[in-house]
């Protein structure tokens, strides 16, 4: 059965196309599981990107700290989170960057859903 090209507004679907496109960027991010690799990236970002053969689009996105551009370049958010950690960004920071709002406003939007619903059987 053919893949559907269904679009979900505002929602990147990490499929085979993205996985192919993003392989080098995601491989670099996966390497950040090791502290020595994080240190090597911090010490010389360009050389580290060379080592993983990032595309020009990926390099520029990383240089500019542009999360949306990293995702456009095939980055998967679970792997990008490891790069975000090096940059001192958490998932609320990432959310604010991608939605063009402040971190405070992003958190406030989450809190606007605030609820606690609990049930315990007798």
């Amino acid at each position: 059965m053919a893949r559907t090209n269904r679009a979900i507004p505002g929602t990147p679907v990490f499929d085979g196309d993205a996985a192919r496109k993003g392989l080098a960027l995601n491989a670099m991010c996966y390497s950040f599981n090791k502290a020595e690799n994080r240190a090597a990236f911090v010490a010389d970002q360009e050389a580290y990107m060379d080592r993983f053969g990032l595309t020009d689009q990926q390099r520029e996105a990383v240089r500019q700290r542009e999360v949306a551009a990293m995702i456009d370049a095939g980055g998967n958010v679970y792997y990008l989170a490891k790069l975000a950690g090096i940059l001192g960004l958490n998932v609320q920071d990432l959310g604010a960057l991608q939605t063009g709002t402040t971190v405070e406003a992003f958190k406030a939007a989450l809190l606007a859903h605030g609820t606690t619903e609990r049930s315990v059987a007798s």
């Binding site: 990147p12 990490f14 992003f106 989450l110 606690t116």
Partner: protein, 284 residues
Amino acid sequence: MSEIVGGIFTSHVPGIGTAIAKGLQADPYWKPFFDGFLPVHEFLRRENPDVAVVFYNDHGLNFFLDKMPTFAIGAAGEYRHEDEGWGIGGFKPFVGHPALSWHIIEHVVGDEFDPVTCQSMLVDHGVCVPFELCWPNTDAWPVKLVPICLNTVQHPLPSPKRCLEFGRSVGHALESWPGDEKIIVLGTGGLSHQLDGERAGFINPSYDRFCLRNIVPDPEALTAHDTLDIVELAGSQGVEILNWLAARGALTGSPRELAHNYHVPISNTAAATLLVENRARADA
């Protein structure tokens, strides 16, 4: 004979692990979530299970996109957590149950599922955070672990129907295990959340309530949506509900909800905890 005593379903947000490490359980932000585990702790004290079979997804610790299994079953004698890249750590090692793992593998392959089998496997926060929630303040985990990893990361993902059927096959394997262990099933991740894209921060309480209402009495209701429907309804990472669906499938007796807690937000996530008891079916 072995007994599947129940199921515990919970979110596995990494920040929960950080909150535990910092002792923030009573902090006003965290308390409504952690309090949802009081019935779970009582249940676990009462049932005292020996083994946990955990359905979860890896977030780039053990599996990279070079080799991405749809279903992977751990068959190791021990499992460890390692650095995931952003400082979460300090989780205790796990003792495996390779004989039970291979029994499950034999059974599900007999049922025409085709899992990857892993005699070496790191487990990430998708396993570790739920363990910390279920068994806090222990020097060593009181249960052995069988980790079962589903691909909820790289599309195409397994369909909800397939996940439920896979879980049922695992449940039948557990029922036919000749050991006398008491087994608890865990399903981790979710509920609605989205980390990426312009819709980052998306939360959908109406879909979450639909899942919480139906997953125990009528799990097929969740299979009416395909994986992309779920991405739309639950957010791109909310699709981790597939782990819950597989875990629900493994409760092959007559399950009944004992407690649930739904709390929004924890980090970017609509967090939920669901406790289910499972009793053997009555046969004539």
